[in-house]
Amino acid sequence: MKTPFDTATGTIALGMLLTLVLFLIARWLVLGG
């Protein structure tokens, strides 16, 4: 089964998306929820 990990672009895109999600969570944590 093909996954986004099967291309470099897919891997990097997932990493960027994860970065955005985690950044929003971190911002929420730092700013006190």
């Binding site: 470099a8 985690l22 969570i25």
Partner: protein, 167 residues
């Protein structure tokens, strides 16, 4: 003295991290798509594909990962913010998320990739079918760490230079 220790830990942390994640990036450039090893290749210890797999296997990056993790934890401990970081408390949540991503990557490397890689290479006994299946798992495990390194670098940088992002 504290600053010198912090500096030395940071230097080794960067160096270890580049060796570790550099292997992941090199793998992505050299082998952008998964090419499953054939049963013939894995079954013949003299085959060029098997020899290449063996040549590629060296513990350097696995131990670099441990050094990177330890120096990262050492820096947090030395600055007295380890507990705040681990518990995602206040601004330390920024490097804390980095800590948890790095810990996940270390666990992925040692507990998922390596046990499967040992089977692929024949270091651990496994039927041929399973060795071929494990090759796919090691590929996905490696790519997972490549993906995780992207937010990890973001949080490393943001913890020191990204205060403007959190106001």
């Amino acid at each position: 003295m504290d600053q010198i220790i912090d500096f030395l830990l940071r230097w080794v942390h960067f160096f270890g991290g580049i060796i570790w994640v550099g292997h992941n990036y090199a793998s992505m450039i050299q082998r952008p798509a998964f090419r499953p090893p054939s049963r013939e290749d894995l079954g013949d210890e003299q085959s060029p594909v098997y020899m290449t797999l063996l040549g590629r296997e060296h513990g350097t990056f696995r131990y670099a990962a441990i050094v990177t993790w330890l120096t990262g934890v050492g820096m947090l401990w030395q600055r007295g913010v380890l507990l705040d970081a681990v518990s995602l408390n206040g601004y330390q949540a920024v490097i804390g998320i980095g800590f948890w991503i790095g810990t996940l990557m270390l666990a992925n490397l040692w507990l998922v990739l390596w046990p499967n890689q040992k089977k692929v290479l024949g270091f651990a006994p496994a039927p041929l079918e399973e060795r071929v299946r494990c090759a796919r798992i090691t590929f996905l495990s490696s790519r997972t760490n490549t993906m995780l390194s992207i937010p990890l670098l973001f949080f490393m940088a943001a913890s020191q230079h990204g205060t403007a992002l959190f106001v």
